[in-house]
């Protein structure tokens, strides 16, 4: 059964079981290499080629060096740099959704874990808050499109008073807000569960000590809960960030793939999708976009890691 032969002697360990480590991580590593690493490399490799479909004719693959990147970073005639726009759109909508998501999740986690409040019916509330996550993103997009559409209920109320209908999806900020709100609604329950787990992991004696010292609840939260929750909070922020950078279904369906108004709801992955799917099959450009997405993710994750500077890894076993 030992798939990896390795004779690395176990140091500092009472028993020499180290080689078992390789056995345990082998499936993960193997699958990762085949399913993610090789595709990743080939995607990056693709970015150096001109390779697309025009009508039924396949153009390329021809090696073009960094031409695809140059094209992506060339502003269009009116000076707009679209790739930058898509990045900013993605980040803006993510932040607009992630802030309430984390705030709500923190509040809920504190309420649920509070010894003092002793909330009744916790089981029900905890069960319910995760439920929006069970609905497909596309279904949410359709529901909210219906609610805010030109002939939807909100506009029925507006026009009933004789006012002109407000076109929520023709206005940059209302469109972005709706998309961000859907993301918030879908994910705050998920985040709550993770944060709750984190708070319950904090040593109860710390809270007791704090209350003996006369700390009020906000002091407890900011001085004890939050700092000790940091590792989990970083995990939450990073996973949310990755989810946010992948934002696709909701804006794609709500704007019917257009990214209207004026490209302000078009995200990076929508742009990527425009290259992979449909008539174009532009592997070169899609590869280049993927590289950029990868770099952006890397930079942002680094910033999150740095700005929240995790405490030392604890004791290593």
């Amino acid at each position: 059964m030992s798939s990896t032969t390795n004779s690395a002697p176990a140091k500092r360990r009472s028993i020499s079981y180290a080689k078992w480590g390789y056995f345990f991580i082998a499936p993960f590593v193997l699958v990762f290499i085949v399913c993610t690493f090789i595709p990743l490399v080939s995607t990056f490799y693709n970015s150096l080629f001109e390779n697309y479909k025009e009508g039924l004719t396949v153009v390329g693959p021809n090696f073009v060096g960094f031409d695809n990147f140059v094209k992506l970073f060339t502003p269009r005639a009116d000076g707009r740099l679209e790739i930058l726009n898509y990045t900013v759109n993605t980040m803006t909508m993510w932040i607009m959704g992630a802030i309430p998501q984390i705030v709500f999740a923190l509040l809920l986690a504190v309420i649920f874990t509070s010894e003092r409040l002793k909330i009744k019916g916790q089981g029900f509330f905890k069960t319910v808050i995760y439920m929006p996550n069970l609905i497909m993103a596309s279904a949410f997009a359709m529901l909210f499109f219906q609610i805010f559409s030109d002939v939807g209920p909100i506009n029925q109320i507006i026009t009933a008073n004789g006012d002109k209908a407000f076109l929520f999806f023709n206005n940059e900020w209302s469109a972005k807000s709706i998309i961000a709100f859907i993301n918030f609604l879908m994910w705050f329950g998920n985040t709550t569960i993770l944060l709750m787990a984190g708070i319950m992991g904090i040593d109860q004696s710390l809270f007791e000590a704090a209350s003996i010292d006369g700390a009020n609840s906000s002091q407890v939260f900011f001085k004890i809960t939050l700092p000790l929750l940091m590792p989990i909070l970083i995990y939450v922020v990073i996973t949310a960030l990755i989810g946010g950078l992948q934002m696709f279904d909701v804006p794609q369906i709500i704007t019917n793939g257009t990214g209207n108004p004026d490209q302000t709801t078009k995200t990076l992955v929508m742009a990527l999708n425009g290259q992979i799917n449909g008539n174009t099959r532009n592997f070169g450009m899609a590869g280049a976009l993927s590289v950029i997405l990868f770099i952006i993710t890397g930079i942002l994750s680094f910033i999150v890691f740095r700005s929240t500077e995790p405490k030392k890894e604890g004791k290593k076993k």
């Binding site: 039924l56 153009v59 108004p261």
Partner: protein, 485 residues
């Protein structure tokens, strides 16, 4: 609405199968029909509609089907007949009217018919079709694409390639009952004919009779046409309609095809994109109409709920533009038994003759059922009894001049949805003015992309240049080789 069509379709299919195969297996067909016809209105309509269809089917079927059953299945034919389509429309026609088709076994002359239907939205249909066509040479016989459908906006992509067959290789040639533009559309750049259409799609102005009466004082098609036969007159009536609280048309892109399908120049020539002057004209019209409040201020697209809601009896819109297929395909709300306004419509030529859409049948290179492909193509263009039923039961305008003419001249023919008006006569009068010109493989991307991107300019939220830049970038995304201004 959809149910009613389904119910009558299935009912007709039932009776047909009873008529043609002596009732064996009719029971299974009936069980599938039953759940669809579960609502009272649908059932009632079925009983009215079905006999008309049945009589024709039973009386005419033997004439057409007798030779078909005689003809033994060609020995060299593959045993699966694969048809690619983007909706169920043609499948319905095929299953009801194709001579030699056995609904019980789903076979045509003993060959199993397999449909691959993918939605046209997000280009899913073309993506899957392209993959299949490119692999057709090496595909297993059961997977080979034999026949596929294509629409006007992208037909050139297929005809102007080696993935489609010259119909002369199938033993077919142009017949003079076909409309010339449908042949031109199916021809490649060397003039080789690659397919046939079962529809001719002259598109007219469809107006709401009651609103026309209120605005123009008449709902008589000839008199209405006299008041709307140029864009100047159309503009004047639009102003009048507005005064009385009506909209001239609903969607901002309602008239787009009237302009774009009379294009004086191509979208892309010599690899460079330029906006045809007629599209500029349309843009100006759409902007003026929006600014003047002649159209819905919510600016719905032509397929959106907001526009479709205008076809309910509560609608305030006078004009829609569309061909014969529009009645059944897009005007479901108008035909709704509760909230619709069935019979309150009429069709005229309007300010400018044009065509819109249309479905062509193309033979895939590598087909292993060439005889059957030819048979189907022939049936839907040359077989007069098939064409007659397409008009009578399906509200189509066929690609057979003789049959259309027969209905156009028939004083007893009338379309109840249009208050008994003879729509075939109206469409037949427009066919000579339709031209197929300046088509490019980029048309679909350009037509759809332009309507989408220009919207921001029309509602005033962005300037025209930004809107155009958005459009150009969309085209560059889809066609990297095209140079944009």
């Amino acid at each position: 609405m959809k149910k009613r069509i389904m119910a009558s379709l299935l009912a007709a299919a039932c009776v047909l199968s009873v008529a043609s195969c002596g009732g064996n297996n009719a029971a299974t067909t009936t069980t599938t029909a039953a759940p669809a016809a579960n609502n009272d209105t649908a059932a009632a309509t079925t009983t009215e509609a079905a006999p008309a269809a049945n009589n024709d089917a039973t009386t005419e079927a033997p004439a057409t089907e007798a030779p078909a059953t005689d003809a033994a299945p060609a020995a060299d034919e593959g045993d699966t007949f694969n048809i690619y389509a983007w909706n169920e429309e043609f499948k319905g026609f095929f299953e009801k009217y194709q001579p030699g088709y056995d609904a019980a076994t789903q076979t045509l002359d003993g060959v199993k018919v397999v449909w691959t239907i993918n939605p046209s939205a997000d280009l899913v249909y073309q993506t899957k079709l392209d993959e299949a066509l490119m692999a057709n040479a090496d595909a297993a016989p059961a997977d080979k694409v034999d026949l596929f459908l294509a629409e006007a906006d992208y037909i050139l992509k297929y005809t102007d390639s080696d993935f489609t067959m010259d119909i002369s290789q199938l033993g077919l040639s142009q017949v003079d009952t076909e409309y010339q533009y449908t042949v031109d559309a199916a021809s490649d750049s060397n003039g080789k004919i690659k397919g046939v259409s079962f529809q001719c799609c002259p598109s007219g102005l469809i107006y709401r009779r009651s609103i026309a009466k209120a605005v123009l004082g008449t709902d008589d098609p000839d008199e209405v046409q006299a008041q709307l036969d140029s864009w100047e007159k159309y503009d004047a009536v639009a102003a009048k309609a507005k005064e009385q609280g009506y909209y001239m048309h609903a969607a901002y892109a309602e008239t787009y095809r009237v302009f774009s399908n009379n294009a004086t120049g191509p979208w892309v020539s010599g690899g460079t994109l330029s906006i045809p002057s007629v599209v500029e004209d349309w843009t100006n019209q759409a902007k003026t109409y929006y600014d003047n409040g002649y159209i819905l201020d919510t600016l719905p697209g032509i397929w959106d709920d907001g526009k479709n809601a205008e076809m309910f009896n509560t609608g305030k819109t006078m004009c829609f533009f569309g061909p014969a297929w529009y009645f059944n395909f897009c005007m479901g709300n108008a035909q709704d038994p509760d909230n619709g306004c069935y019979g309150d419509w009429a069709v005229i030529k309007g300010p400018q003759a044009h065509f819109w859409g249309g479905t062509w049948m193309l033979a895939a290179t590598g087909t292993d059922n060439p005889t059957l492909v030819a048979k189907v193509m022939k049936a839907f263009t040359e077989d007069e009894s098939v064409c007659e039923q397409l008009i009578k039961n399906e509200g189509q305008f066929t690609n057979n001049k003789n049959v259309n003419q027969k209905f156009a001249e028939d004083p007893n023919y009338g379309n109840a949805f249009l208050g008994g008006q003879n729509d075939v006569a109206v469409f037949a009068g427009m066919t000579d003015s339709i031209v197929w010109q300046n088509a490019t493989i980029y048309d679909q991307a350009c037509n759809e992309g332009y309507q989408d991107c220009i919207k921001g300019y029309i509602d005033g939220s962005i300037d025209k240049d930004t809107a155009l830049q958005n459009f150009y970038s969309k085209i560059r995304e889809q066609y990297p080789s095209v140079t944009t201004p």
